[in-house]
């Protein structure tokens, strides 16, 4: 670390040299009020607003002392102003509002019928503030650090001391520490997620992602930990288990009957999103005796004239749907509905009319898609989307036996997964009776007396 020199000119030369060709970094000379000494302020043009600048000249600013050149440069880079004064062996860092960013918007991906409409923004500071707004206690700890050799991205670990398991907190801190020096830049929480996850080759997410501060606050109150990365409008929540991905904020804001019912629907949907095409294929290819006669004949007639085998038909239609989904995400907002019409109606109907696919498979694929959308976590649903293809292949080979084998393999995989020491299949596996009160059936709030399953015991 290079210390600040006593020589004003030497310091100026050093900083000028560092900020050479950085035209967005403004250098402004002025005289300090009162003592009338030479001073130079360095700041990024749009990161420091006019009020801060005026206060800077007037000397009424929120500031702290900086003793090294590196810290001074870092302060300028995060959006503060640094003042170099003649006759002082330290610099003054003037706090600013930082870089421009979005304000607090409404949640787009995790909409609820009741509850707060607020969503995280891109600023780590405001995001932690949104959590603090909901948990106003000094027990809520926000531990900040920086990652990314070049990006110097702020990352904050948010937890409630006394609730979160200290062992898990330390492990996360160590993992984040491990990232430092190994990655040049971190642009989003997704990068952090991939860098610190344990099972790299598992399709199942090992972190819950949320854009809602109330969900993050609830998770923190369960004894879990939120990781907030600057420039990312989502918080990572960990540890997780399968049940975490099926819960929504609505579950706790609405009556327990409807909350439990919708949860059951979600679990069933997740199963269907994974297994429906495979089961369809198995039944019509190997086990048609399971169907009522009328249905068998309807299926047989519907498939008459279709040139492809049911397996190819399923794969074609599933891939076509993935195409529509991908296109729908990429196209500009106003055109989104067009994609739905083109993909769903025109392509689907035309494919059936042209006898390329049977109408039954259109129903199966549409139902599968609907089911995948019913799973609240997109990351979790994506895992089912991948596994679906594996099950389809197994089903084509061995019918329902193949589907059962595939499901068994998935179960084995999930049984072997742990997230920071907590079983992924909890609370059904390794959970206590109390934990199961908020699993598939959510008990009335009055009955949920114990703290969350991740609470330190």
């Amino acid at each position: 670390m290079e210390s600040v020199s006593f020589s004003f000119d030497k310091n100026i030369d050093r900083l000028d040299n560092i900020f050479k060709n950085c035209d967005d970094v403004i250098k402004r000379e002025f005289r300090t009020p009162g003592s009338d000494k030479r001073a130079v302020a360095y700041f990024v043009e749009t990161a420091v607003d006019k009020v801060t600048l005026e206060n800077l000249y007037l000397g009424v600013t929120d500031n702290k002392q900086v003793y090294t050149i590196e810290d001074a440069v870092s302060a300028v880079m995060i959006g503060d102003a640094v003042i170099v004064c003649d006759g002082k062996k330290e610099f003054t860092q003037v706090k600013s509002k930082g870089y421009p960013g979005r304000g607090v918007d409404e949640a787009e991906n995790e909409q609820t019928m009741r509850g707060s409409r607020e969503a995280f923004s891109d600023s780590e500071k405001s995001n932690t503030a949104l959590i603090r707004k909901r948990i106003r206690t000094p027990e809520l700890k926000v531990v900040e650090s920086k990652i990314g050799d070049y990006s110097n991205t702020n990352i904050a670990i948010v937890y409630v001391e006394g609730m979160a398991r200290q062992q898990v907190v330390e492990e996360i801190k160590q993992k984040i520490k491990g990232i430092k020096g190994n990655v040049d830049s971190v642009m989003d929480s997704g990068v952090v997620e991939q860098l610190i996850e344990k099972r790299t080759f598992s399709p199942f997410p090992q972190y819950q992602v949320t854009e809602r501060p109330d969900i993050a606050a609830m998770a923190v109150m369960e004894g879990r930990i939120a990781v907030i990365v600057d420039n990312s409008p989502e918080a990572l929540i960990l540890p997780v288990n399968v049940a975490s991905f099926f819960k929504t904020a609505d579950d706790y804001y609405r009556r327990f009957e409807i909350a439990s019912f919708t949860r059951i629907i979600r679990y069933v949907s997740a199963f269907l999103a994974m297994a429906l095409p495979a089961v369809y294929l198995a039944v019509i290819r190997y086990h048609s005796e399971l169907l009522p006669t009328q249905l068998v004949l309807a299926f047989a007639q519907a498939r008459n004239g279709v040139p492809f085998s049911p397996f190819v038909e399923v794969i074609i239609m599933e891939l076509a749907f993935e195409l529509i989904r991908e296109a729908g995400v990429r196209v500009p907002g106003p055109m989104g509905s067009t994609i739905g019409i083109v993909g769903g109606l025109i392509v689907g109907q035309a494919a059936v009319d042209a006898n390329l696919v049977s109408p039954i498979i259109v129903i199966v694929v549409a139902l599968t898609a609907l089911c995948s959308f019913a799973v609240p976590s997109e990351e979790f649903a994506a895992a089912f989307r991948i596994i679906k293809y594996l099950l389809v292949v197994l089903s084509a080979l061995w019918g329902l036996y193949g589907v059962m084998l595939g499901m068994l393999a998935v179960l084995i995989h999930l049984a072997g997964m742990e997230c920071y020491g907590f079983p992924y299949l909890a609370p059904q596996a390794s959970g206590s009776k109390e934990d199961k009160k908020d699993f598939i059936i959510r008990y009335p709030t009055k009955h949920l007396k114990r703290r969350g399953m991740f609470f330190r015991r």
Binding site: I284, F299, Q301, A302, S430
Partner: protein, 677 residues
Amino acid sequence: MKFSNGKISPEQMFVMIFTEFTGAGIMSAPVIADYMCGRDGIVAMTATIIAALLMSVVILNYSGGKAFENKKLFWFLATLKYFIRLVMGMVLVVVFVKNNLLQTGNVLLLILPLVVCMWYGMKLGFEGRARLSQITFWFIIVAIIVAAWKSIQGFNRYNISPLFITHTDKVLLCTLVLFLVFTPVEMLFWCKLRVQGGNVRTNSCILLAILMSGIVSIIFFVIAKGSNRHFIVKTDTVPVSALILIVVSVIQLIVTYGYYVRKCFEKCVGEKSSFFKSGPMVKNVYISLLAAIVTMIVCYVPVSQNAIKKMQGNINIIQSAYGNTDSNIEQRSYVMTMGVDYDESEGFKVWINEADNTGDVDEDGMGTNNNSSSNGCDIEMTGVKCFTDDNIELLTQRLKTISNNETDFSNVKTLVFGTGVIRNEKIMHILIEYFKGFNGFNNRCYVVVAEDSPEEVIASSAVRKEFRYEYISEMLSNNYKKYDVTLAEMLSGLDGSARKSIRCMVISGSDGEIRNVGSCVFNENGSCRILDDDTDLLLDCIDGRAENCVITTDDGEMYRIKYMDNNVNLDIINDETIGVHINIIGQVKKVKYTGEEVGNNNTANDEDNEEMCEWIKYKLESVLRSMLMDDGIDYMQFYNRLSVEDRVMWLKYRGRERELYKHTYFDVNCDITQNSV
């Protein structure tokens, strides 16, 4: 929630032991027990559970697990046994799948992915396996309930009683075999060493798990025997695996109790034996896995031979039934009606009438253009096809060759037998053997007998209905009573295993109009007795099928019974007389000769009821006696009831039923309880 620490909770251990033992137990223990001592297998199984519990109590309370820690030989044996049991379970699962789901599949190709799955599962470690068991526990419970529910419908208590008829030596031997195959020594110690929590609770969970898995196995045995279901896998793998497991278990027990022997030896001699030395556990696992794979290969040989036999058996018309086919759904032809007859000169004749699934797809593309009725949708038929050959296997080949599509028999609504088949005991037995070879025809269908050619019956209507009732109504010109049975039920009656007579409709078409002319009853030899009207009616009274029937007494009075329910009791009075008590509960009305009801208040009075009862008593006595005497048709299942209610007499006549029947008289009592409609 439990934080990961390499230990499992007592509850996890409970489900782990339960799932691991119940899986193998359900599939193999009943087979061994049934094979060795028949229905007395239940005694052997119960004795095994008691012995296993006692052994577990002794080990858990007196050894504390210390005797086996780090003992190389013990762990090797434990691991080996675990893998062998695992392999046995896998082979059984695959054979089960092959017999029930994928008859065209290859055993080796089916078992390979399962082995991969199991290998993946073994990598989980103890905690992971416990978690997996917690999830699979509920699937197993659901599967057990479904299987039990499915089977219990055909349950007959006479099939599992009386007990204690097998020689004691056999029962004891069976108990020993079961005990050695399923000794849970290794599970006890694996679990015990890895369970966190109190010792008492842990022990309770272990004992409860052993008890529960034992009870479930016994329940399955009872259900399987009682319902004559063959869902329990019978394969040569079980004896082979059992033999290996017995050898391993014996050595394991010697080693287990050898610890105490060694201690005594050391006390006496004063030296430490070098025989038991600790060794790395991992090495044991791999050696055991290798040994288990060798076992699997040994087990595969009899299975593969079975598979070859089965594939040979597939070459017949019935074997291809039940949709076990890998062709696409539209490339199959769905047989709705099937008829079989036999003629000395022409051999076997088989008629099939298939659903026409090649019709135009209507506007919504989802079905045919046929009209739908409230009672079910009409199904267009392709027309009757006939195949003839001396040899039924060649016939099947011809059927497969001639038909463009693969024939699917899984939706057969009606099976029509010609009298040429049912009156020829030998031919009927040939057919029964073919029927037995597949899992099909468990769907409920109408099994009917055609007095003339089945072809006319099959071709009687071009349009068939979806529902069985509608279907047969259309086939017949009048609305007669129908005997809705599964072919499996009929077969169990015919082969005598259930000693149950089955009734079918008899349909005549000689005058050009298809109609129901009565019913018939099969005896256990496969031959058939066509019933006259009176006999038919009286047997309906016993069956409780006589709804809306009309009885004409010898005095010429006519009575109509409406909404009848009945209660039949059979008393074993002595070895010459059986008391039959029939209580008819329903509304009995007097009717005119034309069949119309007499007046408004025409409910039969006590005198009328008495007259009708007298007629039933008189007729039924002679009907039952003549059936037993002439055909050996045990319609009341008298012999089975005797086995339960009078064991001494049953043992006296055991295997000589016909001799008993010749000396038996029926003392019939009949009561009528008028019931408002």
